[in-house]
């Protein structure tokens, strides 16, 4: 019997909802797949995506968290209303920086070095997105589906343990 998680929830863009939602996700993933490492990975990915969304989202509009599972890939998506268009450009720049590296692990190590090298905040790559790619084993991309609405997506390939 193979189980598949499907979840869609809309949240008030309040910081405390990051932990509430990621804890709920952790329980659902464990109940669905019975895999502690997958639970930790999807809960972390959900939390980091929600943190980014809530930091930069329109505080008057709901943030949507979606998780779905097809035969090969589990995808976590967070959608929010963007207040400042430059946030989308910043995200694009971070993903470009990530893809300049041979793999997410190499990007993660370089980001840690830059974080302590006296580099200014604006020049540092954001750790959240890199962590999703490295620790979450996910491909990260995004789209602006309608004016002012950003969806960031993390897709992880399933392993034999959780298929």
């Amino acid at each position: 019997m193979s189980a598949a998680l499907s979840l869609e929830v809309e949240l008030q863009p309040e910081w405390r909802n990051v932990t509430r939602a990621s804890e709920a996700v952790a329980l659902l993933v464990l109940g669905t797949y019975g895999d502690d490492d997958l639970r930790d990975a999807i809960a972390m990915v959900s939390a980091e995506l929600l943190e980014n969304a809530i930091k930069y989202a329109d505080p008057q509009k709901l943030v949507r968290l979606t998780i779905h599972d097809d035969a090969k890939v589990i995808t976590v998506e967070v959608t929010n209303a963007v207040v400042k268009p430059e946030e989308v450009l910043r995200l694009a720049a971070r993903l470009d920086w990530l893809r300049q590296h041979p793999d997410p692990a190499a990007a993660w190590v370089e980001a840690l070095s830059l974080a302590t090298a006296g580099t200014s905040t604006s020049e540092r790559p954001g750790l959240g997105i890199l962590r999703i790619a490295h620790e979450g084993g996910s491909r990260v991309d995004y789209n602006v589906s309608e004016p002012g609405t950003l969806t960031v997506r993390a897709s992880m390939t399933k392993t034999p343990a959780n298929e």
Partner: protein, 123 residues
């Protein structure tokens, strides 16, 4: 020196002859964890320097932390090095997220011997 109890995060301090052991418990999920952690770390560094002791960060039992917390941890590693204080990070390699998160900290392992990364159970 008092333990830290802030929201979902607790850091218990155990003083030994050679080090202050900081046991991280719960979750570090604040939007700006540096507001709590920075002054706490400053006190730990001050006491460690005054008592010629090292610092051990024990993460074996923490549930999770956010990426802003990672930044605080690596800043502590750097500050300890500048003050000539030995710092050791202990983690649980049987948990995949800890293995992936902490293995990367090996970049701070230099010839000065002031930083060490120790998987739980290793001598």
């Amino acid at each position: 020196m008092e333990s830290l109890d802030a929201g979902d995060l607790k850091i218990d301090i155990v003083e030994t002859d050679s080090a202050y052991r900081l046991h991280w418990l719960g979750m570090s999920n604040e939007r700006q964890p540096e507001k709590t952690l920075k002054p706490f770390f400053a006190t730990v560094l001050q006491n460690a320097a005054a008592g010629s002791k090292g610092i051990e960060l024990h993460f074996e039992h923490i549930e999770r932390f956010n990426s802003s917390t990672i930044l605080c941890i690596i800043q502590l590693i750097q500050e300890a090095r500048h003050k000539n204080i030995r710092l050791e990070v202990v983690y649980d390699p049987s948990r995949k997220w800890q293995r992936l998160s902490f293995d990367a900290l090996r970049i701070f392992d230099k010839a000065d011997g002031l930083f060490a990364l120790r998987p739980m159970g290793a001598a």
